[in-house]
Subunit: 98 residues, 2 copies
């Protein structure tokens, strides 16, 4: 059991970040309201976690127009997908050990 938590990534600790990344692993892109609905969290809470994930380049922000309306969606970056998969592998190892 040595180094039990070594593979776990501190940036993905929060349930909300786990939820955002999990959702973006199986959806090419989601907008703010999609994520809010999926995770049942407040706007402020969601926005702060999205910002942190973006700052670490785990997710990218895509800005476009739908008709005349501006629309922002989020996607997991290739780097984000790799890092998150590693985190999930470490979680799975920890779970199997319990």
């Amino acid at each position: 059991m040595r180094g039990l938590i070594e593979g776990l990534n501190k940036n993905f600790e929060s349930r909300i970040r786990l939820g955002i990344m999990s959702a973006l692993m199986v959806n090419d892109s989601l907008d703010f309201n999609n994520l809010k609905e999926l995770l049942k969290v407040t706007d402020g809470n969601l926005a702060s976690h999205i910002k942190a994930l973006e700052k670490n380049e785990y997710i990218s922000v895509n800005k476009q127009f739908i008709g005349k309306k501006p629309n922002t969606t989020y996607s997991a970056t290739a780097f984000g997908k790799i890092e998150f998969s590693n985190h999930l592998d470490a979680l799975e190892k920890l779970i199997k050990g319990s």
Copy 2:
């Protein structure tokens, strides 16, 4: 994917708490140095997480003497084992969904 993170328990978010509970799920009891060695964390960091888990009654503190020397060990409570297993189940569901 609705309510993606509902089953996750905020008290087990931190990697260190995940590590403490995982270790105590497969060991009847461990002392401070055992946990410190397993998790590679500082005394202060470990102590604060142990205190929080104890406050929530997920772990119990056992004080005894080994010869003349006082010895403190920690064990997962029955309640702690149930709550942590539920957390792991929710994590597994999230991982499978990704």
